[in-house]
Symmetry: C2
């Protein structure tokens, strides 16, 4: 294992300190927790939006904390759900009386721990609601999931729920728009090389020198198939086709596109994938409202990418375009 | 070689098409060239700012094209200087009568080709001036360089010269502020794994499983020393110390900090490096005006990072903070 880290047991602590040190006017860490909030949390009369999950997906989730996006992010150990007490700290930190909304990726541990935290918070008189994101069109059920996994499409849920909350919407209104995003967002990923959890010290899976895996999860969970690596155009075609088999996007629809790197993929390659995705959408008469290319939901140093499409209506376009000062999603 | 590409001979063309396809309202490609300009170029009565160099450093350089930053970027083949005729196309595309300013990284090929293009442009009656960026504090002279290399600090030159031009400054005023940035910016990089130029098909150098190289260039050019990999804190300490030996930054000074990933470095690791860099600056009484963490000047899929410090005065702070809509540097 070759990594630029200190003690493998301490990577999450070191990282969280490094994040708040980078944005000291915007972000703060709640002492003795793994919770990072925006500087002005709790924001009076605003629903607090929280998300989080295992570490190793940076800039998710702390990079999405800011005005117009998340009020707090809670980090677990690498690829490990945050504990209910840490999630509860996040809820408390953003609670100003208007309620707290949780964006949860569909992994069994995340669902259990966020929901347990919500129960504890409700016992303290804090109203909590949630959405479960399951945008990965690859597989039903997986190593850590019943149903479909939540992956890069989660970033669009953060953005849109966050914008809605910033405008003073109620918990019910935020839930409604977040559910609308979840219904209209799908992702598909692939990888050409694995990643190594620092505390494990060796790769979580292996791929042959000429092999790729289509539909792989962001923790290296099994995907749809392993086969000989193909061209970028063939890869883009498979990822996009699988999404469009699953999500009805009629000719004339508008979408947001996210070409996401898994951590070790050069931006050059993401743009090459984007070229083909845009060509396919254009051929199908699907209009692209906005495109995002970069590392948004990573898997440590995994090499690979995912494609996400979000079908938009006027409300979603408006909220996607709203101001955000989150470090990893400035608008 | 395992990459998400099509024909290795075609990666730059595919990538440039993928970039303009991502930002069709902001960027356009000059047909039959490797030049990408902002949509509204040439901007009347404004000095045009161009930069560029070999491909493989994405988001540099096209990602820095936008209002408030570059007017155009010109791409060479991977790790290869753009030809004079391509640079000339960029100059012509942004020329509106107020002159054109070139930001050149100090590599022999880049210097020769940009300067030859400037001569050709001047023969057409276009006034051209330039700055040579040589921020790398690692080594004097190198594989492709007489003097010091230009690396991640170049991004600050783009930003500040671009902001100055956007405000209507003259060619001489822009040159003056760009020279000021060059005098006050230093970088140091390191790598733990090499990268592979697509057309070459094999890594440009090798490192042992437990080895790192300090002071390496962004094309894999030799650095200061190879040694057993150390902790992130020790790495951060060496990079920062070397910069501070070279650039006088008295107690009470203000700096901008850039923790740059070389392409395959997880953001987690960049934040861990940032933690130590900020601690060191804090101990030395150096104030941090703004910190940037991410992939700004990459080397394909090299794993490693660089630290850049820019010593600021009021003018530089003002220009660094000015608005930019460049895809990779939104302010």
């Amino acid at each position: 294992m070759k990594k630029i880290i200190n003690d493998p047991e301490n990577v999450v602590q070191d990282m969280l300190n490094g994040i708040v040190a980078a944005y000291p006017n915007q972000l703060k860490r709640i002492e003795n927790t793994t919770v990072i909030t925006r500087m002005d949390a709790p924001v009076p009369n605003k629903v607090g939006i929280i998300s989080g999950g295992g570490s190793g997906h940076e800039p998710a989730h702390a990079g999405y904390v800011g005005k117009g996006m998340l009020d707090a992010a809670v980090a677990g150990e690498v690829f490990t759900s945050p504990t209910p007490d840490q999630v509860l700290e996040a809820i408390r930190a953003v609670h100003s009386g208007a309620g707290v909304f949780m964006v949860i990726k569909n992994y069994t541990g995340d669902c259990l721990n966020f929901e347990m935290a919500a129960e504890l918070a409700e016992a303290e008189g804090i109203q909590v609601d949630q959405v479960i994101v399951n945008d990965d069109a690859a597989v039903e059920n997986s190593s850590y999931t019943i149903g479909r996994r939540g992956i890069a499409g989660t970033v669009f849920v953060h953005k849109i729920a966050g914008a809605k909350a910033e405008r003073g919407a109620s918990l019910a209104e935020i839930k409604a728009v977040a559910e609308k995003v979840v219904q209209n967002v799908r992702s598909m990923g692939m990888a050409i090389s694995p990643c190594t959890v620092p505390q494990a010290g060796k790769p979580s899976f292996t791929l042959e020198e000429n092999e790729m895996e289509i539909g792989i999860g962001i923790h290296g969970e099994p995907g749809i198939e392993r086969k000989t690596i193909q061209t970028a155009d063939e890869i883009a075609e498979q990822l996009t086709s699988k999404i469009l088999e699953d999500l009805e996007v009629p000719r004339g629809s508008e979408v947001a596109v996210l070409i996401n790197g898994l951590g070790a993929t050069p931006e050059m390659e993401l743009y090459i994938v984007n070229r083909k995705v845009q060509e396919m959408l254009n051929e199908k008469g699907i209009r692209v409202f906005e495109t995002f290319v970069g590392n948004y939901m990573t898997s440590l140093e995994m090499a690979g990418c995912s494609v996400t499409l979000l079908k938009l209506d006027d409300e979603l376009k408006d909220l996607l375009s709203a101001e955000s000062n989150a470090p990893a999603f400035r608008k």
